[in-house]
């Protein structure tokens, strides 16, 4: 089998999050208080529509247009994470993510005269990590991709927004991010140092053995970041590195997996690393787990489970959800002669929103060929509070 066909595991995991979160949207609309017999909302269900486009093979991307939305596909997300330092020595992590989900294929959307008639639902997560005061501030929003409330565009300029949370392209390689909620805010300018990195086979990421069960997926792995960050009453001038993932697909999940551990690491030698462990029901690591090295010159090297190993070294138990997460890892890539110690900047970066997961800033120390390496990154841990299985 083609090695490339396993590239999509991490995207697949995010797809799971998306689905879980869109399902959770109802929690937000109709908050839960006490259990009652019978379903509280009984909706008129429509069968999943086969009318969406599917990723069926490598295509050529056209930027900046492909930064924008692809409404023929059912799901799509724009994922920004980053580690930032202030002149005061404070270290911060941020996450700003936009999810899009189409309700019916565009061709099958009934003709509607209202501007508010929506075929797209948008969801966004924004989280700030303050290392010095050991604080974590997650937020969540939903809106419709209509009436200008939320949406994404590729041309004339790339934008994705939900209410006042926004990412927009401001130059050939520059982008602007802003979001705020309840005393936490970012206003950042990002400069893409490497350009889009295509994941999988030129951006075509096969998801499983069946053809068409795949996605299109690209990243910006080194975004030089500068701007302001507010936390409580304090405002900081910050500098650092951000990471962007953008993926779109129409596919159903294979259902043996309970969750995943995903690592995005930016090292001080100019290289980046994506590693992904998919955890199976029986506790083993799925053979579909994959990785990708982005070298300082932008070339990439794909990794499979034979190439890397991840060992959890410690755990952290969330006092709110009660879930126990791994919280320190040793990552070794034998083919690269690389070993890294990965430690969360703070233990509690759990998002208890419509869906409970852990996504946080991590510190990296290690060595390659005897040479000391350091860096930062983001880790995502899902399936520790509730299995994704049975959600759908």
């Amino acid at each position: 089998m083609n090695r490339e066909s396993f590239r999509v595991i991490k995207p697949a995991s995010r797809w799971l999050i998306l689905l879980a979160l869109v399902a959770g949207l109802a929690c937000l609309i109709w908050p839960q208080q006490q259990p009652a017999p019978g379903p509280a909302f009984d909706g008129f269900a429509m069968t999943p529509d086969p009318g969406f486009a599917h990723a069926e093979g490598p295509i050529s991307f056209n930027f900046p247009n492909d930064f924008g939305p692809h409404p023929d596909f059912q799901t799509e997300w724009w994922y920004y994470t980053g580690n930032l330092q202030a002149a005061t020595g404070d270290h911060f992590g941020f996450e700003l993510t936009f999810f899009r989900r189409a309700l019916v294929p565009p061709a099958q959307m009934p003709t509607r005269s209202s501007d508010w008639a929506a075929n797209q639902i948008y969801m966004a997560h924004f989280a700030l990590t303050g290392v010095r005061d050991n604080s974590f501030h997650p937020f969540e929003r939903f809106s419709r991709g209509a009436a200008g409330l939320a949406g994404a565009t590729g041309l004339p300029v790339y934008q994705a927004w939900l209410e006042d949370w926004l990412v927009e392209q401001t130059g050939p390689r520059s982008f602007h991010l802003s979001a705020s909620d309840s005393g936490a805010a970012i206003d950042l300018n990002l400069e893409d140092l490497k350009g889009p990195v295509l994941q999988g086979d030129h951006g075509y990421s096969q998801k499983g053995p069946q053809p068409g069960n795949a996605s299109f997926y690209f990243s910006q792995t080194r975004l030089q970041t500068k701007g302001t960050l507010k936390l409580g009453d304090n405002a900081f001038q910050v500098n650092g590195l951000s990471w962007m993932d953008h993926e779109y697909s129409t596919s159903a999940l294979d259902t043996d997996q309970v969750g995943w551990d995903w690592f995005a690491i930016q090292l001080d030698d100019g290289s980046e690393l994506t590693i992904y462990d998919l955890r199976r029901k029986d506790g083993s690591i799925d053979a579909y787990s994959r990785g990708l090295i982005v070298r300082p010159d932008g070339t990439t090297q794909r990794l499979t489970t034979v190439d890397f190993a991840i060992h959890p070294e410690a755990t952290w138990k969330s006092p709110r959800s009660g879930a126990t997460y791994p919280s320190r890892w040793t990552l070794s890539i034998s083919s690269e002669n690389l070993e890294l110690q990965i430690t969360p900047y703070i233990a509690d970066q759990e998002l208890r929103l419509s869906f409970t997961y852990w996504e946080g800033a991590v510190q990296v120390q290690g060595a390659q060929n005897g040479k000391h390496l350091a860096g930062s990154g983001y880790v995502e841990l899902t399936g520790y509070f509730q299995s994704l299985q049975g959600q759908f």
Partner: protein, 859 residues
């Protein structure tokens, strides 16, 4: 040193004497209980109706406003949806939610008024909590709600009631147009509050609401939740809102409606209290009688060492027992009666004030408790007078039966003087400037009780006049009857007072309704000058605010037989003092077609002044906004902000109690850019038949929109029907009050006759025939009825003046033309005499039946 305790009756034995008395005098006790029960029942029934209407309003309001503290509202056509998008994109407030609302109905859902509520589910959670609990819907279950046109979500209870299930299609009638919709989701509210909040609500996405109502690009309002101290938030928002878009508190908007219905509810409560007052006369009467009957017994008890306090407590405890039983029966009866009163009151409120989508609400425990408390406390307080009387008489005098009567006769003048004082006090209360409705009712009660105080003196005088006349006509019996009545004045006068109050209420309320009816008839004649009226069917009888399809007017204008088709646009605009109903008219004769309370211009100059921006305001609006000084203006919210409009006249109007105003159509359209039409008035060419044209138009226009097309007479009849419906409950209360009084008279006579058994026996022994005795009894009761009827005439007249010039004015701001036909007076006297005679039949029959010896032996 403590004096030695006197020998005492064991308390239980003492109370036994009281309670056994109640048991022995079953008739008397039963009558007291009936009196209290009726009074309490009327009060409970009305209170239940008021509480139910209030709760229906609360729930209706809650289902649509939820937890919002403020609202952003626009002009008559709503506000641009972009206002909301801008607020959200700039995150000017933490919580904002767009709303579109319309009252709709569906043939499949019983044709009842329902609230179509258009919301954005993503923004609405902090505002309206539709589900108290439940499982998470799957995304594919929400898909139709967002994507498919006509997707409606409703509570599973409603769906079950109307046999709808997921996917069922049905028709919604919105502003006269039927639109197909389908059930896209069912909500299962977990608790009864959520269930009642959802009752009558059809939830749709804002997109669906825009499409169903045709308000594309528009929102009705934006709900906001602002922090406790909202000044900063409002200051941030205000400069960013386009002109003509206002931010206001929810409390201010709801308060206006609540104030409107408060007057209506208070009127009903006052009338129901009147029934209780009549019931109290009855209790007073019966208790006094029972005390008089037992004067000898009390005297004996006092001689045996029973203290005054014990006698007092004995009598009061009897009353308490009767009060408890009477109130309990009254509550049961009230709940039964409440079923119909709730319907009547809700109907009236729907007609006149607002459309509730809540059909039924539970029985409020508070109403029941109120009724019980009022019944028991009033009974005990009323009984306190006779109890005090019984206790305060020295032992020896208590044995003398005539003592009380002597005292009563002496007190006649004093009572009359108190009556004058009460009437004067009442009249003075009415003079209090800015006195509210409460003071108004206070004054009314003072005047009524004041008049009732004249019962004794009226009877005494009348009997003095009647005795010689009747003596000449009927001989001995004719002379005896008046003397008997005066001899028992302490009881007869109270019975007469009770009957008088009931009859006076009948006269007063009849005169008020007659005057009101007359006024409305004259007003309709003046106001409804067109031959045919076209409007969109609505749920509010007095004003339909639905918009007529723009294709209708051209058809009407070119219809054969139509001379002229005038159009009217009725909208609700905001003023700093709350919402105001504004009607824009293109009728140049408007100046001549209204009756003026205050014309500031000759009627032929009115139209020119209106084209210049002048407005005509209705009397209730003038009252509400204080527009009686000349040079007053009304400020209205325009797309350019608030703008003053000069008042050029105040006209009489009885269509609504919040008030309304007229402006020229040209002025309205140039300011608000709204070409919509709410009503069309058609003048026909001479010879054209309005019924025929109406039917023909109905056939033709039905293809465009479902419309109400009514000839002048039909509309007039309908208005009068609403009018009569409004007063149905008043009329029912009037009958109830009379019933209570009737029972009062019956019990008094029964007791009087029972008391006189010995005397009757002697009369029989002296040779009076049964027939003559029958005649004597009927004469006595007839005289009592006549006295009550005669005294009721001035009282009823005074009451009607108060109702018309004080109560109605203060409640609704309407000036009624006083019309005083003779009928109500004659009817009243007849009612008084007939009910008195009816009440006399049984006692007379009893006396006639008994043989002389038996009667004397009975002693």
């Amino acid at each position: 040193m403590k004096p030695a305790a006197p020998a005492r009756l064991y308390p239980a034995a003492l109370f036994n004497t009281g309670w056994r008395y109640l048991l022995l005098r079953r008739w008397q006790t039963a009558l007291m209980i009936v009196g209290i029960a009726l009074g309490v029942a009327v009060m409970v029934a009305i209170d239940l109706a008021n509480a139910s209407a209030g709760q229906a309003f609360q729930l209706s309001a809650e289902s649509v406003t939820g937890k919002a503290t403020h609202q952003i509202v626009g002009g008559p056509q709503g506000l641009d949806e972009q206002v909301y998008v801008d607020i959200v994109r700039q995150k000017l407030v933490d919580f904002a939610a767009p709303v579109i609302m319309e009252t709709v109905s569906s043939p499949e859902l019983g044709n009842l008024p329902m609230q179509l509520l258009g919301i954005d589910p993503f923004a609405d959670a902090p505002f309206r909590n539709y589900l108290a609990s439940g499982q998470v819907p799957r995304p594919d279950q929400l898909t139709p709600f967002f994507t498919r046109p006509g997707a409606v979500v409703l509570s599973s209870n409603m769906a079950a009631r109307y046999h709808l299930s997921l996917g069922s299609s049905f028709l919604l009638v919105i502003e006269g147009r039927a639109k197909p919709v389908f059930v896209a989701g069912l909500l299962n509210p977990a608790d009864s509050l959520a269930r009642r909040t959802l009752e009558g609500v059809l939830l749709v996405d804002i997109s669906t609401a825009q499409e169903l109502t045709g308000r594309l690009g528009k929102l009705d309002r934006i709900d906001l939740i602002l922090p406790q101290d909202s000044t900063a938030a409002i200051q941030t928002l205000k400069p960013r809102l386009p002109p003509g878009v206002e931010i206001q508190t929810v409390a201010a908007r709801q308060g206006t409606i609540e104030k409107m219905t408060a007057a209506f509810s208070l009127n009903l409560t006052a009338l129901s209290l009147l029934a209780l007052v009549v019931g109290l006369f009855l209790i007073y009467n019966t208790m006094t009688f029972s005390v008089v009957q037992r004067r000898a017994q009390f005297g004996t008890l006092r001689c045996l060492g029973v203290t005054r306090r014990e006698i007092f407590v004995l009598v009061v405890s009897e009353a308490f027992l009767v009060g408890v039983i009477g109130s309990a029966i009254g509550i049961g009866l009230g709940v039964l009666m409440g079923r119909s009163t709730v319907g009547l009151v809700t109907r009236t409120i729907n007609d006149l004030y607002f459309t509730t989508n809540v059909q039924a609400v539970g029985i409020s425990l508070e109403s029941l408790l109120k009724g019980a408390a009022a019944g028991i406390i009033a009974t005990v307080l009323t009984a306190a007078f006779p109890a005090w009387e019984a206790a305060s008489v020295p032992p020896r005098e208590a044995l003398s039966r005539s003592a009380l009567e002597t005292k009563t006769r002496r007190a006649i003048l004093l009572t009359a003087a108190i009556g004058i004082g009460l009437i004067a006090a009442g009249v003075m209360i009415f003079q209090v400037r800015g006195g509210g409705l409460f003071l108004g009712f206070g004054g009314t009660f003072a005047v009524i009780v004041g008049f009732a105080m004249f019962a004794a003196i009226t009877m005494a005088l009348m009997m003095r006049l009647a005795a010689p006349l009747l003596g000449k006509a009927l001989g001995t019996i004719g002379r005896m009857a008046p003397r008997n009545l005066v001899g028992a004045l302490s009881r007869t006068s109270v019975a007469v007072a009770a009957l008088m109050v009931a009859v006076a209420v009948t006269i007063g309320v009849s005169l008020m309704i007659d005057s009101f009816r007359y006024t409305v008839t004259v007003w309709l004649e003046q106001t409804l000058q067109s031959d045919i009226y076209i409007s969109v069917p609505g749920f509010n009888a007095t004003a339909s605010l639905g918009t007529i399809d723009p294709n209708v007017l051209p058809v009407v204008k070119s219809w054969p037989g139509v001379q002229r088709a005038g159009s009217l646009r009725t909208v609700t605009l905001d003023s700093p003092q709350g919402p105001v109903q504004v009607s824009a008219t293109d009728n140049p004769d408007i100046g001549k077609e209204r009756l003026y309370l205050e014309a500031r211009l000759p009627t032929d100059k009115v139209w020119a002044a209106m084209l210049d921006g002048g407005i005509l305001v209705s009397e209730p609006l003038a009252n509400r906004l204080g527009l009686f000084d000349s040079n007053r203006t009304v400020s209205l919210s325009t797309p350019q902000g608030f703008k003053p409009f000069k008042v050029v006249g105040i006209y009489f109007d009885y269509a609504n109690s919040e008030g309304s105003l007229f402006m020229a159509m040209a002025v309205y359209r140039s300011i608000w850019k709204d070409a919509g039409i709410t009503a069309i008035g058609i003048r026909l060419l001479p010879g054209a038949d309005s019924d025929q044209v109406s039917r023909a138009l109905q056939d033709r226009l039905g293809r465009i929109q479902q419309l109400l097309i009514r000839p002048n007479q039909a509309l007039r009849d309908e208005v009068m029907a609403v009018f009569d419906r409004t007063f149905a409950i008043t009329a029912a209360l009037r009958v109830l009050a009379t019933m209570v009084a009737f029972i009062g008279v019956l019990s008094t006579l029964l007791l009087l006759q029972l008391e006189k058994q010995r005397e009757v026996g002697i009369l029989r022994a002296l040779g009076l025939t049964g027939r003559q005795l029958w005649g004597l009894t009927m004469l006595e009761t007839g005289l009592m009825g006549l006295s009550a009827g005669i005294l009721a005439i001035p009282t009823g007249y005074a009451l009607s003046l108060i109702l018309i010039y004080v109560i109605n004015r203060r409640s609704f701001g309407w000036t009624l033309q006083f019309a005083a036909p003779v009928d109500p007076f004659l009817q009243a006297i007849l009612i008084a005499i007939i009910s008195a005679l009816l009440a006399g039949i049984y006692p007379a029959w009893r006396i006639e039946k008994k043989a002389a010896a038996e009667v004397i032996r009975n002693e």
